[in-house]
Symmetry: C5
Subunit: 342 residues, 5 copies
């Protein structure tokens, strides 16, 4: 059943050798329990009907665990395939649960945005979350559940899902801020000294924006689907919360578009400034050449060795030539000034 996975490298992730970590948090308004790192069978036996059961799986390389979870929760084979392979953000409805997969952004390293795929299965009284690697942004939130601050404890699994997605989307703002700062840095440089390196930096930012877009556009569509959910997995009162996350994603996309336009503007300025500098260089060359090439010709004339050159014999020949040349130079400079080449 697990056999069918995409063969192509861009589509499937090689298994790593980290350990898979299982964690279950169970709560309702009164009770709270947390169990970490226990075998999957034991974990399943502890599920409680009247509580929210949040099972988090860190690491996807031990298929046996996911198969067992899959059997217990009756997960569709295509759903498991989507969890295991690199998939675009999407929401899919099944009879017994909702399936959501999206990207959790980490940081920008070498102009590449590091991300991790996170998938959720939302049932009536449970939420499964599958992460590729250990480490997430839910630490503080787990404390909140435990300490019963906020309204999480009084609500169902759908609100838990909302909170987790909200935390993930909040983190997008951090990454986008970083991109914004990169743009500002490059902008300053481009105005000061536009080199090829600056241009390549602009291109790298464009690349980052391309990858962010790839994560955000399908996420928007997925969340839009959630806000119109009619399956009942998301309670009417919670719909508005997902609408709020949806708004944030729309806002993020909007900022993305703004950044894209700013980057294009930077490219235009870069090219224009480079051209302007080229023009300046050319002007210097032209000014120097047009002044000295004719003069060199004149002095060349009187360097000729003809026997009969009467000017050479004149006492005032030399000063006259020098003064004539000075006049030529003066005229040319006036011409260049008039042409605004200085």
């Amino acid at each position: 059943m697990m056999a069918k996975t995409k063969p192509s490298s861009s589509h499937y992730r090689a298994p790593s050798d980290q350990k898979v970590i299982l964690e279950m948090i169970q709560y309702n308004e009164r009770d709270y329990a947390m169990q970490a790192d226990i075998p999957v069978d034991e974990l399943i036996s502890h599920l409680k009907k009247d509580q929210v059961n949040w099972i988090n799986v860190d690491g996807l390389h031990e298929q046996s665990i996911i198969v067992k979870l899959g059997q217990h929760f009756n997960l569709h084979s295509l759903l498991i395939e989507d969890i295991l392979s690199d998939h675009q953000p999407k929401v899919e409805e099944f009879d017994e649960y909702l399936f959501i997969t999206l990207k959790m952004l980490h940081s920008i390293k070498n102009n590449k945005i590091e991300y991790e795929q996170i998938s959720f299965v939302l049932g009536k009284d449970f939420l499964l979350s599958f992460q590729e690697k250990e480490g997430d942004y839910f630490g503080e939130f787990r404390q909140r559940i435990k300490q019963s601050t906020g309204r999480v404890r009084s609500r169902k699994a759908d609100y838990l899902l909302y909170r987790l997605i909200d935390i993930i989307v909040d983190n997008y703002y951090t990454v986008l801020d970083e991109v914004g700062q990169q743009i500002e840095t490059v902008e300053e440089e481009v105005y000061k000294n536009p080199t090829v390196k600056e241009f390549q930096n602009i291109q790298k930012i464009k690349k980052e924006l391309i990858y962010l877009r790839k994560a955000l556009y399908p996420l928007r569509d997925a969340l839009s689907k959630l806000t119109k959910d009619e399956t009942g997995f998301i309670e009417q009162a919670s719909i508005r919360y997902f609408g709020d996350v949806y708004d944030h994603v729309v806002h993020l996309i909007d900022s993305l578009d703004t950044y894209k336009d700013l980057t294009s503007g930077l490219m235009d300025i870069h090219i224009n400034t480079m051209n302007a500098r080229m023009n300046e260089v050319m002007k210097v060359l032209t000014v120097i050449s047009t002044i000295f090439i004719p003069l060199t010709f004149i002095v060349g004339i009187y360097g000729m060795n003809f026997d009969f050159m009467p000017e050479l014999r004149l006492e005032w020949g030399y000063p006259i030539v020098m003064i004539s040349m000075a006049i030529v130079v003066f005229g040319m400079i006036r011409y260049f000034k008039y042409k605004k080449w200085f």
Copy 2:
């Protein structure tokens, strides 16, 4: 309840230390009352059922005030979050009120458009307005209500909302006019003397247009939603007024697009003019070089010190060389004229 606010800097505004100012205007066709700067509890106790109660809040940093208003008017936690954080223009329907948030443009300083977020909560007999800072464009309008000119006094809170939004949107025209004048100024300069600075000015105008677009596009969508409102907070007779504001925003967007196209055209002209000047400079260099480099070679020949150069001994050698060179120059000039390099 107030705890949840977006953590990222681009998304949340630091509290300032200005005082929060509360103001309430109450009116119907017969009566009018205005109370400013009174405690929030007192203000709430003065609300009257048969009048339009307009509560305006200047400054958002004292959360206790907003919380108290929130409790009295039963404002949703997400709504309060939207008031407090920097949000895109939007309209959202709630059971007991309509929520509208938009941007109030102030002016262009250093090619950055200054704006302020303003949010409205429209109930059956009240209108709450939340502004970031003191100072708005409603002064003259407040006088009108007081003096009972215009039709405001005879109508409900929805008409009040329309008037306020209309005043805000009118102000967009002023800002857009300013951008239009900037474009004209730059255009003149570009035709006269296209420098890198001019090009950067074009880019700055493009930036302004990007930011205006960010404010206007979601505003259009929000207003479109208002004109299709079926919740009853906006009376049937008032819908047409919101349709009118919607028309203005569509008109503004249209002007925005026109400005965008004009700016692109200016960029093209700028680049083209710079290139044409470069060509002109190159032509001067080429004309001077191609005339004098060969001549310099000729005079170089007769500057050689060979013992046996019969030409040097000829009486007519020098004049012949000079005349030959004059012919070469004349031929070249004719060639350049033919090639239209002058």
Copy 3:
């Protein structure tokens, strides 16, 4: 009631001091009457129920006239505001009439398209038309009504409206033809001699197209609304006629797009041709420089004044140097030919 008009300059037109001219044409299949330049009250008293009453207002600066018409025909305050201010083409339905506003193009002066706003109010048995200035394209058509040629006399006010709009749209073709001819003129010039002026002309044509687009796109949407009219102001049999005008506008927009693409193509050719000429100039410079600079060096060698330069003493020194240089020149020319620089 008339007080509310947009304050911004781009949005409101200053009143002129021309006289406002009123004209009423009344007709049915049997009767015809025309009254011009009479007071508005008298005009209103002459309205006849069983005839088509076409009231045309030339000039909008005497508000009292429009107010009186507004009172009699029960015109909405927003509608009057739209007539008086510069508005995008649109159709709006009211309970007692249809409101249509559009642009009447006049001509192209200095690459600016002159236009005038014309608004219509279509009721069951009347048609009001409001023009900014005297002078329109309806003269010939007025004769037709009088002489009862064509089918106008046997039909209602909606058919009259169709005919007027049709005449206005026909005039768009004239303007677009003019733009088309401008493009052809510029095209020829660009192929022959691409200067900065030509480029600016292309930009001016682009500007014209931008302004035409601004008039045509909303007009298309407005007409599309008319063809789907269900208010009954337009009879079923007339819908097809408005559909025909709609087709013409779609055709105009299509031509506009074609012109836009042609203009972009011209810009590309212009830039490319300028670059090619630059290349040609550079080649001439390079050919002349690479031929003569080395030669000048060679003759420079034998212009040195060293005491011990055996070549200078040789009888064949001079001819040998000259022949060597001829060989160098010949070789270089062959190289340039091979490189296709000639």
Copy 4:
């Protein structure tokens, strides 16, 4: 009734002096008759109820014929106007017939695509076709009807219409193939020798594509309307055939888009190759100049006529200078090699 035609030259075609040719083909499964070049009244009197009556009109300048046909078949005045003027492809439903107008492409002459407008009126038992000029691509198909090959004879007028449109659309492939070959020819040239002429050829191909697009996009929309026809003029069994023609047009548009992208790519290559050649030329100039200009300076030094220049007196002065210069040249060449300028 015929009076109303568009006044603008771009919109209306001048009448030619060719004769109008009328032809009627009548058939059902058993019978077949063809009558050509008979008066229009006689033709109308021959119409048969139980057969398919295909009346083809070659030439549109004799309005009396079209008026008579119009009266007999009750053709709407707007429809006749559309037949007579140059109209975009469209489908329009009338009570008694369907009206279809489209372009019949002929060939590409001087990079202009020659086409002819062809209009159809499809009734229950008749098909009218109006062509601008004599000559079409239906010759072979007429033979088929006569010889009763294919399934035409057993079907109604709607199938006849399908076959005619299919033949017209098939001909589009021929024209598009021609464009494809032009692109290949230009591509080869651009890779070999990118001149301004090549660039203009690319622009001409772009123009052809613009004109093809103008014919194809509205045709697609018109055919799409036919495939959703619910008027009953097209039988259910024939809908699929029109769907097939629709598919072909979609395919043609797809090829058009591909050609457009290829042409843009060619433009990019052209510009880039021209720039690269420019760079090459500049490098040659720079190499020659940077080698010989300093050398010329050195030999210039020893050409000075100072009385006291000790080097000039040295026996080894000349060879030393020559060797020094050789070293300079050698060093520069190494530098250029290092910079990859060769």
Copy 5:
């Protein structure tokens, strides 16, 4: 019936002389049979009602076979035409079967993507597949059916169709990966040494992407139609599988768009780097020229042969000139350093 095929070369494939190969696989949960290379009549007589009958046709040039299959399965003449001609991917519903045609990608040879058209006819208990040439990617899958691994044997013909399409789409990933690698290779080269060849390679990749887009976009639309199938040929339980393939195609298109953006970015970098190198070359020329041209003029002065040039007689004339020139050089170098030309 077979007569009607598109006449144009781009639209119809010349028949080859390979042999047509027929193969039939029949299975249900218990039974399995395979027959290859038997006459078409015999094959038809072996069809079994209670099994899935998969008939695969390799090669389309023997029309008699397809005609016979067409007669038995009642295939529509337009459908047969679509199988035989080069058609865009599409899904079409018929009364007795579903028709699907798409492209099977093979590999990239000389920057051209090789593909083959594959068509399916899905009935209640049969699946016909038509391939242009021998050789496909189904070999392994045929073994699976035989060995009854996976769930194929327990399901109907619609699941078989899904598996085959899934295999074809999986192969798209391989091709797209190859394109991705080409982009990376070119990227490295462009950063290192941007030549015209590199630019042409980018263009070739763009071409590949254009051709991939042509295959993928209509495929997405076709699959989208399948997932909404209501004809009953695809069972409810299988719809989700087709949805999964649809997701993959959307993902592929998304990657395609990313690659397109990356390629555009590469073009920008290429052009910018070339320009920057040009600038560098120009700077070297300008530095050398502006240093040595004035110096050459100075030494030229003292090479003049005037009888009265007092400087020439001075003992310190020569050293003073040399030192002056050294100062000029030093000043210029400082100026260039200041201008950041080094």
